[in-house]
């Protein structure tokens, strides 16, 4: 698709044949070892059963897959390129490749999942879609998918996130979605999810909750993983074509963890490939200063699933902070917790300052302005590269583009636009 000399060959219309082996998790109850499950009020159980059955049958439905694959190619613009990072590779002495989810229509990987779920909802005869959003990327993606398919759309967003991601709020409204600001709690993602869940409980008969990450009650973690795993399937083929070998490591930021799981999934069985997630280290180690669940949290049950949660000794979920709205969340997808327990995935934390440095680095060295979320992966690039063998190959996921963040970064750096 791309004629760029630095881009690996694209393998457009191949997908249907999945090249990863059958996974042993989650089990039938949506459990990843001790994590996952369905911890929701009874009212939602029938809707989750319906969704689980609906996804199970549509997953193998030829007409559905044909429509979905067609939209991935011709609406979203997949496959996205795998770009060789020339200068960063030179500087760090390792081969650095960038998976370009920032080039998806709407500017981030979120559209892969949103479009899949909205199609699924239409097939389940739902007439109304609701979603939460943090950075606004999932909100924009859902609003886009609804506008395309022709369904009513309402987005819940914390008012603090609406302030710092104002361009995305306007984009959602341009696409015909209703954006509802949430003033509760920390006014960020977790509060928006609570409100979306409440809406769903009240309107479950005609409404689909298009959850934006590998989180929440079963089947969301596995279904969102399924929709996002196209990232890793493409990347695996692309790196094999470009380098003739698998990479030593994958690197991706982790809020709920959908871009990371999307990249990791096709490589989970490749034992030699390190899976490295980067959490938001914020600006300190106390509660309320970061969103590093694996470095300050412990297992708990929150918003429908069992996983690692930032909570106090009395089981109260704590507020979080990250410069990036999309990573500013108190819990992490259950499969990440499971992969970490298995020793299969590793997690690092990247501070606000390191992420901002990563943002500038990618813009200056590779001419790509990344989202603040993706900048967390770049912020840890040098450290991870140094841990690889000298002929090492690494793929970093550029989960989204940074246009939405430039005004906030100018503000943080004291500049007037």
């Amino acid at each position: 698709m791309s004629s760029d000399a630095t881009s690996a060959p694209a393998t457009a219309s191949a997908p249907p044949k999945r090249n990863e082996k059958k996974q042993s998790w989650p089990d039938a109850k949506g459990r990843f070892g001790p994590y996952g499950g369905r911890y929701v009020p009874e009212t939602l159980i029938p809707a989750l059963d319906e969704l689980t059955a609906g996804w199970k049958s549509l997953k193998r439905d030829r007409a559905f897959q044909k429509e979905f694959q067609g939209l991935l190619a011709n609406f979203i613009g997949r496959p996205t390129p795998l770009t060789f990072a020339t200068r960063l590779s030179q500087r760090l002495g390792r081969k650095i490749w960038l998976k370009r989810e920032d080039l998806c229509h709407t500017g981030a990987h979120k559209i892969n999942n949103a479009l899949g779920q909205v199609l699924l909802a239409r097939n389940l005869r739902k007439t109304r879609i609701i979603a939460e959003t943090g950075a606004g990327q999932h909100g924009v993606a859902t609003a886009t998918a609804c506008a395309l398919i022709g369904l009513k759309c309402r987005i819940y967003m914390g008012t603090e996130d609406m302030r710092r991601q104002a361009p995305n709020v306007f984009r959602m409204r341009l696409l015909g979605a209703e954006v509802i600001g949430i003033d509760a709690g920390s006014k960020t993602l977790k509060d928006a999810i609570n409100e979306a869940l409440r809406d769903w409980v009240a309107n479950v008969r005609d409404t689909h909750y298009c959850l934006g990450t590998v989180y929440g009650p079963h089947p969301f973690p596995v279904m969102v993983r399924d929709f996002q795993s196209v990232i890793g399937r493409e990347a695996r083929k692309q790196i094999l074509a470009a380098e003739g070998r698998l990479p030593n490591a994958l690197l991706a930021c982790v809020g709920g963890g959908s871009n990371a799981m999307g990249l990791f999934h096709a490589f989970v069985k490749d034992a030699g490939v390190r899976l490295i997630g980067v959490e938001a280290g914020g600006n300190g180690n106390d509660f309320g200063q970061h969103a590093a669940r694996f470095d300050g949290g412990r297992p708990g049950v929150f918003q429908g699933t069992a996983t690692w949660v930032l909570q106090n000794t009395d089981g109260q979920v704590q507020n979080t902070h990250s410069v990036s709205a999309g990573l500013d969340y108190a819990a992490v997808g259950p499969e990440h917790a499971w992969l970490r327990d298995q020793g299969r995935a590793e997690f690092l934390r990247c501070s606000d300052a390191e992420a901002l440095a990563g943002f500038h680095l990618l813009a200056e060295a590779e001419a790509i302005i990344p989202a603040l979320e993706s900048s967390h992966a770049i912020g840890k690039l040098a450290e991870v590269a140094a841990s690889l063998p000298t002929d090492g190959v690494l793929i970093a996921n550029i989960s989204g583009r940074g246009d939405k963040d430039v005004a906030e970064i100018a503000r943080l750096e004291g500049l007037k636009l």
Partner: protein, 271 residues
């Protein structure tokens, strides 16, 4: 082993041909001192079962009134241990009204399920309604709570399938809680039109009493909702009274007087 206070209460009501009036509010709102005084006053006013909320930071099944109450309780420093201690003090004062906890899973899971069950029974609690724990999600956890002597109350909703209604009716202990409308807790102007039909379907399969809640606030609504079932739960309405009069020296009197009006309305309904 002595009879659970919830069962004992329903037995007495059944003999007199009456329905149960169940009152919900959040422990620790506005503080635990108030809780310790509110429970006996409500019992005195005719409340048959106290449903005592354990406050949680992220109450996803609750509307704004109960969210704000949980927030106030947490700001006042309410902890699970503190709530258990309040129950102990209520029993030490001689009050024997059945006490049912209403809780999200994480605070009690964090306390330790086995430890919570043992301490709750020792304090004098009679049961728990775990909001975000469908009984088939973790049967071992439910078994731990029950083995200690706590009744585990299940919820059924208007969306619940007939097959699942049978399952929930079998699983529920003490009573079966019918969430009579889709949506979160909170006051509503009208009762749902399918109430009688839904409750009849539950009563056909339930051994335990069937009680109705979510959105019931006036004495008229309470009486109407009580008719088809075995009891009625009023929550947000009382929670709002506590919110409006939290710093009033007569808080307990105000809430108890309202509870009495509701209790009388429910108790006037005969089977």
């Amino acid at each position: 082993m002595s009879t659970n206070r919830i069962d004992a209460r329903f037995t007495v009501l059944k003999k007199s041909g009456q329905k149960a009036f169940i009152a919900y509010f959040s422990a620790g709102d506005p503080n635990l001192e108030a809780t310790v005084r509110l429970v006996p006053a409500l019992a005195e006013a005719g409340v048959d079962v106290i449903e005592l909320g354990i406050p949680f930071s992220d109450p996803m099944a609750d509307g704004t009134a109960n969210q704000a109450a949980a927030e106030r309780a947490l700001l006042a420093g309410t902890t699970v241990a503190g709530v258990l201690d309040a129950v102990r003090r209520i029993r030490a004062g001689g009050c024997q009204v059945p006490i049912l906890f209403y809780s999200y899973l994480n605070p009690i899971d964090s306390y330790g399920i086995a430890r919570f069950a043992a301490d709750a029974v020792a304090a004098g609690a009679d049961g728990i309604l775990p909001l975000d724990l469908p009984p088939d999600e973790d049967p071992a956890l439910i078994a731990t709570l029950r083995a200690a002597g706590l009744h585990t109350v299940c919820l059924a909703a208007p969306t619940t399938t007939p097959e699942r209604k049978r399952f929930l009716a079998r699983e529920s202990r003490g009573f079966l809680y019918y969430v009579c409308r889709l949506g979160v807790t909170g006051e509503r102007a009208e009762l749902p039109p399918d109430l009688g039909e839904q409750v009849a379907a539950l009563k056909a399969v339930a051994r335990a009493p069937v009680c109705i809640g979510f959105g019931i606030s006036t004495p008229e609504q309470a009486a109407a909702a009580a008719a088809p079932g075995d009891g009625v739960i009023v929550g947000s309405h009382l929670v709002r009274l506590i919110a409006d009069h939290g710093s009033d020296p007569d808080l307990v009197g105000i809430v108890a007087r309202r509870a009495r009006v509701l209790a009388d309305a429910v108790h006037a309904v005969r089977t």
